[in-house]
């Protein structure tokens, strides 16, 4: 059921067996796992069911390192969390992403990919994509063939796209509304987590609405599921017993912030202007699943070259044609009961470019999205998406500025390392060699990539992927949470979501966030004797 803290008498104390802070992908996934179980679950969500400006403003913060998105733009603070603006790209992490790599400082998870295998399969269903196979041979079709890369260098990485992206708030709202044992408390901002004097047991939460209603929670177990920027903030703000914040006895909470740097890095000049690139140039649908292929360096290459993960997608130039877009404009306008604004020009475009109209209509009959013809007389741009090296100096920290609730805001100090740059350069050199071997063209670096070991352009951004700030390790001196996502030193305090990533690989994080949440839910079931 859904409750609104605005409608609850001030001073109410809620009781729960399991309290989850945050109703995003991780929080909703965990809560759903307990529907119908003999357990009182309380999901505490800062926002309501829709975006609210004042609540969203609680996410404002400072950027003190590399340029980054505004902190109240890069995430969403209402029911469904950041899935409300999710792009839908999905792929599981690879074996190598979990392993300790001697060339990557601070690498290595205490769990393996195999520990998540069964959860990935369920996560695929939750985000409404295809079967859990990512073998490019399975997904290619007659039109979209993938280059025959040498596996010691490169692979075609399949991304399955949740399209339209599953917004967890919309998709799973009814499940939680109908559940007798699950309460979702909206407009309830967590002011802090309370613990016993020894800081070994979390005991509850202090809550408040923006208009001053106060409440509290007593819970046997608490899960912080607020994302990679807010989860460390919640722990750091919970400083009644531990001045440095809960779980921060080793000054690790908020450190190791990682993103997937996104940036244009070079060009492939095709000497073979045939159809070899179609598989990498466009999204396509196979067996009802939308596929976005990208290229990536293989795990073998990463080991041999001492590099981080690297991926890129082709931005293949197109020859813009007026015909089919004009036809579509006329068709859609008429369907909506109006005449196009410039009907004369649209008709002329259709009449003068019947080839394109015919091509578009033919593709439409085959459930094949329209795409203008490619123009390989111009270079194919590489839009790279990189794994970032874990770096303790890349961090989220509290600052003196306060939000509307009187809580310290955060500053993000995002930093990259020499290994990040070297990995990009070496990966692209390998890719250049591979496209040369395939006889399809020559690769040219963008100048800045070769300039030196540390500089990055101002327009380098991330993918809105906030990871690593409560990292997982069995060693309390190296991580905030253990392999079960339990905060070191605590019996009953957990972190869910991308904050626990030890390293990030190069694939998008949401599928793994959900797999980790499912695994945590299983662990909690065992703790509650429900397994």
């Amino acid at each position: 059921m859904f409750l609104d803290l605005h409608q609850i008498p001030a001073g109410t104390e809620f009781h729960a067996d399991l309290c989850i802070i945050g109703a995003g992908a991780a929080g909703i996934t965990i809560a759903r796992q307990f529907i119908g179980r003999p357990l009182a679950v309380l999901v505490v969500e800062s926002g309501g069911l829709e975006l609210d400006e004042a609540t969203q403003a609680l996410y404002q913060g400072a950027i003190v390192g590399r340029p980054y998105f505004d902190l109240d733009v890069t995430r969403l603070r209402y029911f469904g969390g950041s899935t409300n603006h999710w792009g839908g790209w999905c792929a599981p992490l690879h074996d190598i992403d979990f392993q300790a790599r001697d060339w990557v400082p601070h690498s290595g998870w205490p769990i393996a990919r195999s520990d998540l295998e069964s959860y990935y399969a369920i996560a695929q269903l939750l985000v409404q994509i295809g079967p859990p196979t990512y073998d490019p041979q399975v997904w290619q079709n007659d039109k979209h063939r993938f280059p025959d890369f040498q596996p010691e260098r490169m692979v075609t990485q399949i991304m399955q796209v949740s399209e339209p992206a599953t917004h967890f708030g919309e998709r799973y709202r009814d499940d939680l509304a109908k559940a007798d044992n699950v309460r979702v408390l909206l407009n309830a901002n967590t002011l802090g987590i309370e613990s016993n004097a020894a800081a070994t047991q979390a005991t509850g939460l202090r809550l408040a609405t923006l208009n001053g209603v106060r409440a509290s929670v007593r819970a046997k177990t608490i899960v912080v599921a607020c994302g990679g920027l807010e989860s460390p903030r919640v722990l750091l703000l919970s400083n009644d017993v531990m001045a440095a914040g809960l779980g921060n006895q080793n000054d690790l909470v908020g450190r190791f912030f990682m993103e997937h740097p996104h940036i244009l890095t070079g060009n492939l000049f095709a000497t073979d202007t045939g159809n070899w690139h179609h598989g990498l140039s466009e999204r396509f649908i196979k067996n009802g699943t939308l596929i976005q292929p990208v290229i990536a360096t293989s795990p073998i290459a990463q080991r041999a070259q001492g590099t981080l993960g690297y991926s890129a997608n082709f931005e293949t130039p197109v020859a813009l044609r007026p015909g089919y877009p004009a036809y579509r404009h006329i068709r859609d306008s008429i369907a909506s009961g109006a005449l196009p604004d410039h009907i004369g020009r649209d008709i002329w475009d259709v009449v003068s470019d019947l080839d394109d109209v015919a091509r578009g209509m033919f593709r439409a009959t085959r459930d094949d999205p329209y795409h203008p013809p490619y123009d390989l007389s111009r270079p194919i741009r590489f839009y790279s998406r990189l794994e970032q090296c874990p770096n303790p100096d890349s961090r989220v920290k509290l600052i003196g500025e306060k939000d509307a609730l009187g809580l310290n805001r955060i500053a993000l100090d995002w930093r990259l390392t020499e290994l990040d740059k070297r990995s990009l350069r070496r990966s692209q050199e390998l890719i250049g060699a591979e496209f040369g071997r395939l006889g399809v063209g020559r690769f040219k670096f963008d100048d800045w990539v070769l300039a030196d070991d540390t500089s990055w352009p101002e327009d380098l951004l991330g993918g809105h992927h906030h990871m690593g700030t409560c990292r997982m390790s069995d060693d309390p001196k190296r991580g905030v949470v253990d392999r079960d996502c339990r905060v070191h030193g605590f019996d009953n305090l957990y972190v869910a979501g991308s904050a626990v990533y030890a390293t990030t690989g190069y694939v998008n994080p949401t599928l793994t966030v959900i797999a980790l949440a499912l695994r945590l839910a299983d662990h909690l079931k065992t703790q509650f004797g429900l397994a």
Partner: protein, 132 residues
């Protein structure tokens, strides 16, 4: 056609001129390299040559020591073999060169010259052009 105004070979020019000359048109391009046998259509190829020379000079500048033509040929046997064959059997020379370049790419024996990822043999071919 003159050299690029800036200190680099433009991407467009490299794409349009050098790659077709080196890869697709090796059999045509290679006669440049025969000191005593410039083709009749040399003027038509000179634009390729200018770009190749630019790459070649850049490559030579990257080498730790001054390098002459014979040393370049020794570094890339395929290039040496191709130049041996060029006068009498240009189609064989083109094939040898193409194979040498492919082998380089397969072994990742590549160099980055002016931002381009080139087979070592390819870069040395440009260097020989620059020295000829």
């Amino acid at each position: 056609m003159g050299l690029p105004a800036a200190g680099t070979v433009s991407r467009r020019r490299f794409s349009r001129d050098v790659i077709p000359a080196l890869i697709a048109g090796l059999a045509i391009a290679l006669p440049w390299l025969a000191p005593a046998g410039l083709p009749a259509n040399f003027d038509g190829l000179i634009r390729h040559r200018a770009s190749a020379e630019r790459i070649g000079r850049r490559y030579l500048a990257m080498l730790p020591t001054a390098t002459d033509r014979s040393r370049l040929l020794a570094m890339s046997p395929a290039l040496g073999d191709a130049l041996q064959a060029i006068r009498h059997r240009p189609e064989v020379a083109a094939g040898l060169l193409r194979r040498g370049i492919n082998d380089d790419f397969r072994r990742a024996d590549t160099v980055i010259v002016d931002g381009w990822v080139l087979a070592a043999t390819e870069a040395r071919l440009c260097a020989v052009i620059a020295l000829t």
